[in-house]
């Protein structure tokens, strides 16, 4: 596409004409999606092979869930799928850090390593219901 620009937008699935206001959306992805993600995992299980911000859930799974959520006649743009993929990782990190924080608050000193135990799980559930009360499914999980 536009080979001279400093932003490689082809990997983002968007045309070169679009940039965000204020900051450039630059992403040097090491892989095309994350189909290859698991293939690179070798025996030593080292975390150095990938960067934290590149850990995504498989886009096929994410896209399927999206597709089933919207009316059948609807379509989903490719960059929307990729974007939700990133949002998902953000969501998981958000939930995890909130739960971890509460875990520490509830029992200071007892779980210095941030262990999410069964008690922590209750905290985890509380986080869900305060942040996502509109999702009835999650409320039901809380009561189960």
């Amino acid at each position: 596409m536009d080979g001279d620009s400093t932003t490689d937008t082809t990997q983002l699935g968007i045309t070169g004409e679009y940039m965000t206001g204020g900051t450039y959306v630059l992403q040097t992805q090491d892989d095309d999606g994350d189909e290859s993600f698991n293939d690179h995992e070798d025996g030593n299980g080292s975390k150095d092979h990938f960067r934290e911000q590149d850990i995504y859930l498989p886009i096929a799974n994410v896209a399927r869930i999206m597709k089933n959520a919207i009316p059948q006649t609807g379509k989903i743009a490719k960059d929307a799928k990729e974007c939700v993929q990133e949002c998902v990782s953000e969501f998981i990190s958000f939930i995890t850090s909130e739960a971890s924080e509460r875990c520490h608050q509830e029992k200071p000193g007892q779980l210095p390593a941030g262990l999410i135990t069964a008690d922590g799980q209750q905290q985890n559930v509380m986080v869900y219901t305060t942040s996502y009360q509109q999702i009835p499914g999650i409320q039901q999980i809380q009561f189960s």
Binding site: I14, M19, G21, V62, C87, A113, I116
Partner: protein, 119 residues
């Protein structure tokens, strides 16, 4: 909604076979958070399930918000709008910036420079 219906929904929601996201990958993302070492198996399942519901909620909300224009397609801007307008999705505003055309951005850059020159 009858009590029994709710029961069925809860059962369906907590049925371990009823998830379509890889828990191992979810676990990896969770472990990338600082101060997290071990993750209880139930907490992992809960997170995975909640993530699924999150995707559904985000997709449907964004789609509903945008489909008034009869595009019938869920686009990036629908998601960016949802992040901005809904309190639930506020935490996504940093990773869902609204996009503008490059030439508009360059134009506004030029205008900012002009303002600086005039000062």
């Amino acid at each position: 909604m009858s009590g029994k219906n709710m029961e069925e929904k809860v059962e369906q929601a907590t049925d371990r076979k009823n998830i379509s996201l890889p828990m191992s990958r979810v676990r990896l993302i969770m472990k990338s958070s600082p101060d997290v070492s071990c993750i209880n198996q139930d907490a992992l399942f809960l997170t995975t399930k909640a993530t699924e519901l999150f995707v559904q909620h985000l997709a449907l909300s964004s789609y509903k918000n945008g489909s008034g224009k009869e595009t019938n397609t869920l686009s990036y801007s629908d998601l960016a709008n949802a992040a901005e307008e809904s309190e639930t999705f506020q935490f996504l505003t940093d990773i869902l910036p609204k996009k503008i055309l490059a030439r508009e951005y360059l134009k506004s850059l030029e205008e900012m420079e002009k303002v600086d020159d005039n000062l």
